[in-house]
Structures are given as C-alpha cells and as structure tokens.
C-alpha cells in the first residue's frame, strides 16, 4: 500500500458510496460520521470491514481507528499509518503462507 493522499481520499470515499450508499456530494473532510453522515458505531464497523478489504490491511487490533470522528480523521489515519499497515499486512501474508506449507500432522494408524 503506497498511495498518495488523493488516492486515499478516493478509496475511502468510494467505500462510503459503495458500501453505505452515501451521496458523493456529502463527503467533505470536515463531515462527522454520525451527526452529518448518519453512520453510528455499528455502521463504522461495517465501514472498517470495507476499508480493510479495499486497502488489504487489518484494522482489528488498531485502537487509533476507533477514535476517528470525521472523514478527515480517516484520511489522516491511512496516510500516517501506510507503512505500518503495509508491514502488518505483509507479515500476516507470510504467516498464512508458512501455515499452508507446514506438513499436515501424521494421522495415527488403526
């Protein structure tokens, strides 16, 4: 994941439009998720799942993402944490590969 800020904004906004059917005209950086866009905490979970898929990263253990209140906060989060999220995604991929390559446990003979 090595995106410019504009690419991050485009990706986040398209997740909001596609997953939550928001109007693109409503997506300004200063807009708050609940008061302006009508997305509560349950909707934010759905949005994060969508963003995980979009960026190929895991946000599950990330505490900072839970503090976002505005669209700008989300853009800033992905811009600031690109390197960390990319490293996490690669580590997860390597662990999955290693698990796939391990020989299966021997089954006891009857």
């Amino acid at each position: 994941m090595n995106l410019t800020r504009d690419e991050i904004i485009e990706a986040v906004n398209s997740a909001l439009v596609n997953e939550m059917e928001l109007d693109p005209a409503d997506l300004a950086p200063e807009k708050t998720f609940f008061d302006d866009l009508g997305l509560d905490s349950l909707d934010m979970v759905d949005l994060m799942i969508g963003l995980q898929r979009k960026f190929g990263v895991s946000l599950r253990e990330n505490e900072e993402i839970k503090t976002v209140r505005t669209l700008k906060d989300v853009y800033d989060f992905f811009e600031k944490n690109q390197a960390m999220l990319t490293a996490q995604a690669e580590a997860a991929k390597k662990a999955a590969e290693a698990a796939r390559q391990e020989p299966p446990p021997a089954t006891p003979e009857n």
Binding site: M20, E21, G38, D40, L42
Partner: protein, 263 residues
C-alpha cells in the same frame, strides 16, 4: 408559574394512579407468581395504563393531544418514533396497538427515581449497556411477548423541530427478525416540556403512519430503510408543525382570520 401548576398536578396524578392501581398491581404479581407467567408483561400493561391515565387526566388538560392512526390498525412490530421531548414516552402509550409495549431506553432512563424501577421491571431494553446481539435477542423476545416495541432512534430529545440522525440498531434488528416497522410522528411537544423541563402551552398531534412494506425490509439494506423512515418522519413532522402553527395563529388572532375569510 405555569410549570409549577403543571408539575403539581402531575405529582397529584401519579399519587392518585398509585393508590388506584396498587391493589391490581399486587394481584397481578401474585397471579404471575402462581401461574408462572412473566411478570414483566403485567408491568408493561401497568406502564401503558399509567401513561394513558397521565395523558388523559393531566397532560392533555394543558396540551391538547390529537392522535391520527393511518397505519390501518397495525398492532405488531417496531414503532419508530421521533423524539422531541420527555413527554414522548407518555404519548406513545395512547397508540392503540394491541398488548403491552416495551420501549428501548438509554441507560439513564432505567435509573430514574421511581419510573426507572418500573422500566427495569418491565424489561425495557438498555441500549447503552448491551451488545448488538443482545439487543436483537431482547427485541425478538419483546415482539413475541408483547407484540410491540417503541424505539426513539435519535437516542436523545432534540428539544426542537429538527430531527437528529438515527442510530441503526433497531433497523438492523427489524431486518434480521423480519419485523414490521411502523413510523410514528409526534409534533408540537418540543416545549412541552423543553430540554430544561419547563412546560409551555401547545398542541400535540401524533400520527401513526403506514408500516414500511415488508418486502422492502426483507430485500433492502437496513440503511436504506433507515434513511427512508427518517425522510418520512421529517416530512410528516414538518407538515404537522405547519398545522399546529396555523392553529396557534388562529387562536391568537381569531378576529384577523375571521375578517380575512370574509374578505
């Protein structure tokens, strides 16, 4: 001064209801104990009767209330109500839905002095302290026990004519449980009482609207239904506000309007 008179009347009304209802409440408790029926359903019936009693003998003396039922007699499902004032939970009790109704309340409402005790006994859903899965389970149980549940998805009183955004939990639950959703618009009570509990004279109109078509709840995502209900209630409350404003103008300047009509 007006608030003092209204709240004195309210306290007397509560005392009178408690005196009249307590023998029946006691009998209901013993009956439920002996027969194994859930006491919470009996408590909900008392809460509903209490609400109706207070509206008819107290609130509507100062704030006339009119109920329009356009739902075609809907008596089962999740009633979604806009929330301007603390009088809303009383007002919904006059909606003629069958059976008792269980309202979803933020945590503080379940811990209010006196009312909170009965809210907890009636099994009001504490949305602040439950997970989403628990909310769905309690909603399912409420619908099978009492048939109806009233929710205020704004989560807090607006104290004005502006409607806040909706929380999504009960729209998601309606989709999961395939439960009917019935919008209810209440207008005119934003200052009766206001957010500081001061009472001002007004007029309230409540309108129970047509249920959202069940095939839409089944097939469409919850947020689309949620936004549709929000739009419906915004439009309906705006129309009711216009009617109430016209009524207030007529009351204040009856001679002006009479001469305008004859002109």
């Amino acid at each position: 001064m007006f608030s003092l008179i209204v709240y004195t009347h309210m306290v007397l009304g509560i005392m009178l209801y408690c005196i009249l209802a307590s023998p029946f409440f006691l009998f209901a408790g013993i009956f439920c104990l002996l027969t194994g029926r859930p006491f919470s359903v009996a408590v909900l019936k008392f809460i509903r009767t209490f609400g109706r009693f207070m509206i008819r003998t107290w609130y509507s003396v100062y704030v006339p209330v009119r109920l329009d039922d356009f739902s075609g007699g809907a008596n089962h499902g999740i009633f979604v109500v806009n929330h301007r004032s603390s009088s809303d939970p009383f007002l919904v009790s006059i909606i003629p839905a069958a059976g008792a109704a269980m309202a979803a309340a933020k945590g503080w409402a379940l811990h209010m002095p006196f009312f909170g005790v009965f809210a907890r006994m009636g099994g009001f859903i504490d949305v602040n302290n439950l997970t989403y899965e628990q909310i769905v389970e309690q909603t399912r149980r409420a619908l099978s026990n009492s048939g109806t549940i009233y929710v205020f998805p704004e989560g807090t009183r607006s104290g004005s004519r502006t409607m806040a955004q909706f929380h999504s939990a009960f729209f998601r639950a309606a989709k999961e449980l395939n439960a009917p959703l019935i919008p209810v618009a209440i207008a005119g009570n934003e200052n009766s009482p206001d957010r500081s509990f001061r009472m001002k004279p007004s007029r309230v109109i409540m309108r129970v609207l047509k249920p959202i078509p069940q095939d839409r709840i089944e097939s469409e995502p919850h947020f689309r239904i949620q936004r549709e209900v929000h739009r419906i209630l915004e439009e309906e409350t705006a129309a009711l506000d216009r009617e109430i404003d016209a009524w207030k103008l007529e009351r204040r300047y009856p001679f002006c309007l009479t001469s305008a009509k004859s002109a």
